[in-house]
């Protein structure tokens, strides 16, 4: 590991004896999951619980003429069949816009469609029964009379005057447009020795969380309280939204989130069917459970990407990149998703293109259009893979054009490691990045020169291997600049409450959530380290709005950087409180005492003075023996949000080594390398595995994953057999290394790492495929890189 900054304070809490920070320790919650004893929402059963299934539109765009549920309502086990009109009495519609994305518009969306459906899969009726099979049986007997309307499916023609407008009240199908210009782009292009242009095409894909979305809503009419059990990344957001649209106070809604079977951004939104489930529970005054089946997941879990981006780069013969220009078009389905909006990704693409490079000449246009397809919104590494693929694709094309090695052009243009703080051409503020240190480390790991030699030798034997490199920047630790400034009640701060119990163990309640990243572990590691308590004595409570401080949750790589810092600050206060009490008990001075290995010790010689369980016993059971005026507070709460930088930008670089079979078009991944800088590393193993998991999701986008629609807006591969995702047999080993530039905005210094893998993997693969195909003069700027795409580019089909 390379550290770019010395520790700021040599006596920082990070350096305490027996610190768990920076150490690989197993996650405390793993045994439960390993024995199949986790509690996912799909496992939950409550007394009197009913099951809901949704009848969904088979058409992408249609008028609902009539719904007849008479037969269904009389079937065994059926409790109710509820239409959109009936549900409207319980829950209000919503519009997914944010005020800081100027001009963003969307139409009111209902929990269940009322007069019209706008995508294949939109719910038109809810069938509630005592068990799911009965509900599904009854669903088959609900008759819906539709009048099919013309579907808007191709984003390239969505804005044409001849294309129907999906929501006539909005005037056109343009949801959002952003234009950005920095520097003197025209002049920069005119001064270039070469200008390279390409059209980049990104398939629409989706998260495929292994546990589908699931919710149990339990309206207790006697308490006038709604408890929502949901696998979500943002419990307080769900609480706020559910209360708002059901006409309740936040305090009347409790959101509980136990184990979550995969999230990746899929479960950071609130879906219409989830809203409907909350409302059905209130309407029917009983617990209602909804678990999406796999076809519903494909048709209604948010989709992602689906961009067509025209990119242009100017370059001088000496390798200097003079300017970047992009024109991005993306289709988001019929509604901007609520409450985070579907324009964030295009906005992010504009923010991130060209980000690692020195040039300040940058022009961008992004347009976001409506379509009659499933909604599209934030999924892991929002906008990053698009921006990285366009930027890195253009850089490689520029290098090829002037005959320069792809590494050399990056060396000449990446922002220098000592140039910070500085800003990108889109105005993003960088505190400290480490592109050059990262690239140097990557080249060493992959033995770049030897690999090039090997590649050349193999080419002579008609074996076509390619090397692809992709540098990237990554948005982490978001402040209120993400959502709060736009009026969305999505908290950017997180809080942690830490308390010591009567046996000297520690309980932490945190507002960040756990979906397998290791939130519990990192919280316990930080609190244990700061307090001087062993991790076995630290228990973490999360995912419950009744029992955790208010906060944002876990998304956009904020758990460690924001939730971790809150944990650190809360633990510092508790530590100080404990030492104060210990000083009173021991008739000593707080400055002379410390806590190490569950004991209060002398700072001077480390001799243990009192075990924490004994201290806790005195505090809780014999406070009468304490000196007068001492009121021990063995509980402390702190919140944290970054203020100086709207986002903690991180950086990294990836490389892919692969072989293309030019006869079949198949790509075999041989090896993948990542160097990433996420600042202070709390648990090296967890960080590496976050990155590997992210890389594999990026590799899926690069090679396999695509939601395929026909011209009528029918999703034709909505099952796991036809929608391909990476499996163990196709994936290479992935080597991960780190450069460490801690953020100075927090004492902990941690930045996020969750997007890094996904951000750069597809770009590295696409560059490697093009590198392999260079002898054939073929260039591909489309993902997924299916055999068909490759053979087409080679002129074989």
């Amino acid at each position: 590991m390379t550290v770019t900054r010395a520790a700021v304070d040599p006596l920082s809490v990070l350096d305490r004896p027996n610190s768990y920070i920076g150490k690989t320790v197993p996650r405390p919650n793993l045994d439960r999951l390993l024995q199949g004893r986790g509690q996912y929402v799909s496992d939950l059963e409550l007394p009197r619980m009913a099951h809901v299934v949704f009848l969904r539109s088979p058409y992408a765009h249609a008028k609902i003429v009539a719904i007849n549920a008479d037969i269904a309502k009389r079937m065994p086990g059926v409790i109710s069949v509820v239409t959109g009109r009936e549900l409207e009495a319980v829950i209000t519609p919503w519009v997914g816009v944010l005020s800081h994305l100027k001009g963003l518009k969307s139409a009111p969306q209902y929990a269940i469609a009322i007069d019209r459906v706008c995508w294949q899969g939109e719910a038109v009726a809810a069938i509630v029964a005592t068990n799911r099979a009965a509900a599904e049986d009854a669903m088959e007997k609900v008759a819906v009379d539709y009048e099919e309307l013309e579907a808007v499916t191709d984003m390239r023609t969505a804005l044409d005057p001849s294309t129907p407008v999906i929501h006539p009240s909005l005037g056109d199908n343009l949801a959002f447009e952003r234009i950005h210009s920095a520097g003197d782009v025209d002049h920069a292009f005119s001064e270039s020795d070469a200008v390279v242009e390409a059209d980049f095409v990104f398939g629409r894909h989706t998260g495929v969380t292994l546990e589908p979305r699931a919710v149990v809503a339990d309206w207790n009419a006697a308490e006038a309280r709604l408890t929502i059990y949901q696998g979500t990344q943002a419990p307080h957001m769900v609480q706020n939204i559910a209360a708002l649209h059901l006409g309740l106070k936040d305090a009347q809604v409790r959101v509980v989130c136990n184990d979550v079977g995969g999230s990746f951004g899929i479960k950071v939104h609130i879906y219409a069917d989830e809203m409907a489930t909350y409302a059905l529970s209130k309407l029917l005054r009983r617990p209602v459970k909804f678990v999406a089946d796999r076809i519903e997941s494909f048709n209604t879990d948010i989709h992602a990407r689906d961009h067509r981006c025209k990119g242009r780069v100017g370059v001088r013969q000496d390798g200097t990149i003079t300017a970047f220009e992009i024109d991005d078009l993306t289709g988001i389905g019929p509604y901007s998703m609520y409450p985070r909006t579907s324009a964030i990704e295009a906005n992010q693409v504009v923010n991130l293109v060209g980000g690692p490079y020195i040039t300040q000449n940058y022009r961008a246009r992004a347009r976001v259009v409506f379509q009659n397809k499933n909604v599209m919104c934030q999924y892991r590494a929002v906008g990053h893979p698009i921006a990285c693929s366009v930027t890195e694709g253009l850089v490689d094309l520029a290098a090829a054009k002037i005959g320069m090695d792809p590494v050399e052009i990056r060396r000449r243009n990446l922002i220098a490691d000592n140039a910070y703080p500085c800003a990108s051409p889109s105005g993003m503020k960088f505190e400290q990045l480490s592109h050059h240190a990262s690239l140097a480390k990557l080249l060493q790991m992959m033995r770049y020169d030897a690999l090039r030699t090997e590649q050349a030798a193999l080419r002579k034997r008609n074996i076509h291997r390619g090397i692809g490199i992709a540098s990237f920047i990554e948005v982490t630790n978001p402040s209120a600049a993400f959502y709060g400034v736009g009026g969305a009640k999505i908290s950017s701060q997180d809080g942690v409450a830490v308390r010591m119990d009567a046996q000297g163990s520690v309980i932490c309640q945190t507002s960040i959530t756990e979906q397998g990243q290791g939130s519990e572990s990192l919280t316990a590691q930080i609190v244990g380290s700061v307090l001087g308590v062993s991790m076995e004595r630290v228990r973490v409570i999360l995912g419950d709005t009744d029992n955790t401080p208010y906060g944002g949750g876990t998304w956009a790589s904020r758990g460690a950087g924001i939730g971790g810092e809150a944990a650190l600050q809360a633990a510092k206060i508790l530590r100080s409180n404990i030492v104060d009490v210990a000083a009173a008990i021991l008739q000593s001075n707080p400055a002379a005492l410390d806590i190490v290995d569950n004991h209060v010790v002398n700072t001077s010689d480390g001799v243990p003075r009192i075990e924490l369980n004994e201290l806790a016993r005195i505090v809780y059971f014999r406070p009468d023996t304490l000196p007068p005026g001492i009121q021990p507070e063995l509980m402390a709460t702190r919140h944290f949000v970054p203020r100086q930088y709207p986002f903690a930008f991180t950086n990294g670089v990836q490389a892919s080594w692969l072989e293309v079979d030019t006869d079949t078009g198949f790509v075999k991944l041989l090896k993948h390398w990542v160097v990433e800088d996420c600042g202070t590393i709390i648990n090296p193993q967890l960080v590496d595995e976050q990155i590997r998991g992210g890389v594999v999701q990026g590799l899926g986008a690069a090679l396999f994953e695509k939601c395929i629609y026909d011209e009528r807006g029918q999703l034709i591969n909505a099952n796991m057999a036809d929608y391909l995702v990476p499996m163990s047999g196709e994936m290479p080993d992935i080597e991960v290394a780190h450069v460490v530039s801690p953020t100075l905005e927090s004492e902990l210094g941690a930045k996020g790492a969750g997007e890094a893998g996904t951000a750069g993997a597809a770009a590295a693969v696409a560059n490697a495929v093009n590198d392999a195909l260079r002898p054939f003069g073929a260039t591909i700027t489309e993902i997924p890189l299916t055999p068909q795409v490759i053979l087409t580019a080679l002129g074989r089909i």
Partner: protein, 161 residues
Amino acid sequence: MTAPVPVSLLVNGDPVEAIVLPRLNLADFLRDNLKLTGTHVGCEHGVCGACTVRVNGEIVRSCLILAVQAQGSSVETIEGLSDSGEIADLQAAFRERNALQCGYCTPGMLITAQDLLKHTSAPDRGAIRDHLSGNYCRCTGYQAIVDAVEATARARAERST
């Protein structure tokens, strides 16, 4: 609808008698009737592997067979394999290596991995990847899982020599 029929089988060694609809699949039977929620349902069409259990010693997708087809058979789920201690070393290797994140694929992954280790004493990484290639994991990227299975194979081989 066809009338319910009685079934009797062994589940994790315990005799189970039930009356079920013929259309009920084994995964739903285990989860809903027996409350053995460790068997997870991911796709319901035999692709993802999350619902993998052992029937008469062979691994099967419990979403692809009916409860009535399990008549007279011995079914073992993650709860049984955990309680018997049969896969304790494999579970420990998964824990040490962080070979799971959300944990939803994990029961199926462990049962599939144990099946490989029962039949092959020293599988190489390619063989491990092949054998696990019917089990989705969306979180880990598979490498940690392969590492954990490889480490377990090695440790078992050392113990047996």
